[in-house]
């Protein structure tokens, strides 16, 4: 690499590139890029593919009077990029409950669990989900026969449970267990997620999709906005592709990298900042309204309600590492939630401190999808059980909780 002083002839030689190289070198560059892309695509398709069947086939997603609900007696198989293929089976009431709906059997203490995708058990088999693990744990610890009837629903945000409260009541619960996530707060008042899909009739090729998006963007803004929008859409599309998921998954396996990545994102979609933005504060206010309404109805029906914030990956990581960037406060949302729930007459249990003892947090969630793995469900279930038997619910007060159950599951 070291250059020596060169005389004229050598300099001329140094300056020249064989004519063929002017074609060959760019060609090698392009071929390398194509080859690397193809190899990456092949690996990502193998390990991070998603099925063409989706859970959507088992869901009714266009009824604003109820929000998203399951198609009664339906069965679906779906695979998300980071998870194996999962079976979803809905009973005659459209719930992924693992049992038929109807009146509770005698001698059984029934808990109706509500919430969105975490308690629904998205991307895990039912037997690995909180809904299946928690009653086993509670029954073992309390000596009572405890059943969980799972009415949680994928994208079932709080307002939709307000709309479907009669369904909850029909299950004759002794207790409502409300699993809250930051996403539930962000979308609290959303009954149906806006449909951002491309309408039927538009060809599905990349160029056709891009042209459609460009036209849409041009319709609503300037050329620059349109270009910006297409650029953002392209990046989002790339992130959602097999390759994008594989790369982000691999890069974000490191907990510290995940935190740095979330920080760089800047949007605070999980309400982790110590000072919430106006938008996030508004989300929280909306959630408070919905929580008040749900709790009011539970009180009228004399059903006790217990709420718990289940952390998403970033919050769990920050707590487990006991490290977060300045300006972030991973426990704050739990405190806010507690005051809301308690103000409306409910009970709140806090499982976040329990995460401090978890050493392998990176194995509990998938980094891109953000949903808990079977191991994550087991830990969350154990942490909730710990809190419930501690005395938060007198009927469930059982043997003094120990860490052994948690350790067994790790």
């Amino acid at each position: 690499m070291t250059e020596t002083r060169l005389d004229g002839n050598v300099r001329l030689q140094e300056a020249r590139l064989p004519r063929l190289d002017w074609i060959l070198l760019p060609l090698i560059g392009i071929m390398t890029i194509l080859l690397v892309s193809a190899a990456t695509k092949s690996v990502s398709s193998h390990y991070f593919s998603k099925s063409s069947n989706t859970l959507a086939a088992c869901l009714i997603q266009n009824d604003p009077s109820t929000g998203v609900r399951g198609v009664p007696n339906s069965e679906c198989r779906a695979k998300s990029p980071e998870f194996p293929t999962i079976d979803y089976k809905f009973n005659s009431c459209g719930h992924r409950a693992g049992m038929e709906c109807g009146p509770k059997p005698p001698e059984v203490y029934r808990i109706v669990m509500i919430g969105s995708s975490y308690p629904f058990g998205l991307n895990v088999q039912r037997e690995d989900s909180i809904a299946a693990l928690l009653p086993l744990d509670l029954s073992r610890r309390t000596g009572r026969q405890i059943q969980i009837y799972n009415e949680a629903m994928y994208t079932g945000f709080p307002r939709s449970f307000d709309l479907r409260f009669n369904e909850i009541q029909a299950a004759q619960p002794d207790l409502i267990l409300w699993i809250v996530t930051a996403t539930d707060i962000k979308y609290s008042s959303t009954v149906l997620l806006p449909n951002n899909t491309i309408p039927q009739g538009v060809p599905l090729g990349f160029v056709a999709k891009a042209t459609y998006r460009l036209r849409q963007a041009l319709h609503s803004g300037s050329v620059l906005d349109a270009i910006n929008s297409v650029e953002n859409n392209a990046l989002v599309a790339f992130r959602d592709s097999d390759i994008g998921v594989m790369l982000v998954h691999t890069l974000n396996l490191s907990p510290s990298q995940s935190i740095a990545s979330y920080k760089a994102e800047g949007s605070d979609s999980f309400l982790l900042r110590d000072q919430l933005s106006e938008e996030r504060q508004h989300d929280l206010d909306e959630f408070n309204t919905d929580a008040a309404s749900i709790q009011e109805r539970a009180k009228s029906a004399s059903i006790p309600i217990v709420a718990v914030l289940v952390p998403e990956r970033i919050r769990a990581t920050m707590i487990s590492l006991n490290q977060w960037p300045p300006g972030y406060a991973p426990y704050k949302l739990s405190d806010l939630l507690r005051s809301m729930i308690v103000n409306h007459g409910g009970t709140y249990v806090d499982i976040l401190p329990g995460l401090k003892t978890i050493g392998n947090i990176d194995q509990l969630y998938e980094p891109v999808d953000n949903h808990p793995t079977p191991k994550g469900h087991a830990i969350i279930s154990a942490l909730i059980a710990d809190q419930l038997v501690k005395g938060a619910v007198p009927a469930l007060k059982g043997a003094h909780p120990t860490d052994t159950s948690l350790a067994e599951k790790r």
Partner: protein, 478 residues
């Protein structure tokens, strides 16, 4: 702009393009000056904060001006004043706190300017006839934006030979291609490898304090020690790759700062391969004069070899001290100096015990080299604890394991680095041995285009996906 960002690379390439509009030294100097001033303006934002730095430069130039006019007797005083001004501006804790300026000011690049200024003063004061250095040349040399943030530390004569030459170094397509490949490589090192290695080390740092089984903790300790040398290498050498390439595109050849440091088979060799311009500077201006001075005073033949040991200790102790004003860096310096001195003593002892010829034969033995390489890496990795950590952090990490567990971790690092680095050397040699009449296939422009394309694609995709800044260039803080 003070890191290996897209913006910095684009800025550098633009400056190189404009600089090549004419080969005249005047034009090229004008472009370099304008680019450097703009670079400083972007970094400082408020020009007022540059005043102390400007004062330091003025002080250096005043000394240089007097020395060039024959006031050579005052050389030592000039040097002392410049050293004192540097210590004062860098707020070394050896001075009382009340003595420092308490308004915020700009110190980025000061360490490297300090070396350049001292170099000019020492060379001007040596009595040899030289062409006087005017203020513009002085500013271009000391502030050159390509070497401003973290070097490399270039000698003035080399700088002037390229920058002010009417016939500057040639810039054909081959050279341009090589530099572009180097920029891609540097960008990948800083923005992808260093970023990920930094995250992995942070994970390990957290894990060592978590309630985990002891084997997990030992694995975390292993990673804490092993990852950081690679991180700092990617972070620093990646940035240096970029600035050397940008400068070369401006027809200015900067000295190399790294030469595959982890292939060094001894600590003495390591410092010939790591931060080369710093260690060379210190060898030229500390080691050599100190050794000469001691040899003049101590004439004992028995003691003579040990003078080198002492001089190595002092020189590399200063390497550590230069890095920072805290006691951690002082200790880091002691460890560097101790490593160098112990290595020299080992060589002397072994040569004494075995005889010169058998010692030389042993030093060429592949197993001796491989284990030496592993030991060098292990020692350097552990000394870096005092480079990245403060006492409380180091204490937290060290107290997470018992002493015998740390001994096991060290042994594991030594053995695994011996094995892995030896395998890497073997693989590299095997790949380089695939040759055509034009040389090694791996170093051909075709292979370079192929891997630069792959690295470039990976760097762009990962940078876009992560959309987060890479850790800053560590050496800009010094």
């Amino acid at each position: 702009m003070d890191t290996a960002s897209f913006q910095f690379v684009l800025f550098g390439l633009l400056v190189a393009l404009v600089s090549n509009l004419s080969r005249s030294p005047f034009w090229r100097s004008l472009v370099l000056l304008a680019a450097t001033l703009y670079f400083l303006y972007v970094l400082a934002v408020n020009p007022i904060v540059l005043l102390p730095l400007a004062g330091f430069l003025a002080l250096g130039y005043f000394g240089l001006f007097l020395l060039q006019r024959g006031v050579r007797k005052s050389l030592v005083w000039f040097i002392l004043v410049v050293v004192f001004a540097y210590i004062w501006l860098k707020k070394y804790t050896i001075l009382p706190d009340g003595f420092f300026l308490h308004t915020p000011y700009f110190t980025l690049g000061l360490s490297y300017i300090f070396f350049r200024v001292l170099h000019l003063l020492i060379e001007s004061g040596d009595g040899n006839e030289r062409r006087p250095i005017g203020p513009l040349r002085y500013l271009l040399y000391t502030l050159n934006f390509t070497t401003f943030v973290s070097g490399p530390i270039q000698r003035y004569d080399d700088f002037a030979a390229d920058q002010f030459a009417p016939d500057p170094p040639p810039l054909g397509p081959k050279v341009v291609g090589l530099q572009l490949e180097r920029i891609v490589r540097g960008f990948f090192k800083v923005n992808v490898l260093a970023l990920l290695l930094n995250a992995f080390q942070l994970d390990a740092l957290v894990q060592i304090s978590q309630p985990l089984p002891i084997t997990f903790k030992m694995w975390a300790a292993f990673r804490i020690a092993v990852i950081y040398p690679f991180f700092i290498y990617c972070n620093f050498s990646g940035y240096i790759d970029i600035v050397i390439a940008i400068a070369r595109l401006m027809r200015l050849r900067l000295p190399e700062n790294f030469n595959r440091p982890f292939s060094a088979s001894s600590f003495l060799e390591f410092w010939n391969r790591w931060h080369i311009t710093l260690s060379t500077w210190l060898k030229n201006y500390v080691y050599n004069p100190l050794l000469l001075a001691l040899m003049r005073r101590i004439t004992s033949r028995t003691l003579e070899p040990f003078l080198g040991v002492f001089c190595f200790f002092v020189t590399f102790f200063l390497v550590g001290v230069w890095h920072g004003r805290t006691s951690e860096f002082l200790f880091y310096g002691v460890l560097q100096g101790a490593g160098m001195a112990a290595n020299k003593l080992w060589q002397l002892a072994l040569a004494g015990a075995l005889g010169r010829k058998p010692y030389k034969a042993l030093a060429k033995n592949p197993f001796y080299i491989a284990f030496g390489r592993g030991l060098t890496f292990t020692w350097f990795a552990f000394t870096l604890f005092w480079f990245w950590g403060d006492w409380s952090k180091i204490n937290k990490v060290l107290s997470a394991l018992q002493i015998q567990q740390w001994a096991l971790v060290s042994l594991a690092i030594w053995l695994s680095s011996t094995l892995i680095l030896a395998s890497w050397e073997w693989l590299r040699a095997a790949l380089l041995s695939i040759r055509t009449s034009e040389g090694s296939v791996l170093l051909s422009r075709y292979a370079r285009v192929a891997y630069a394309s792959a690295l470039g694609l990976a760097a762009v995709v990962i940078t876009l996906l992560l959309n987060q800044p890479a850790p800053g260039i560590v050496y800009k803080a010094f």
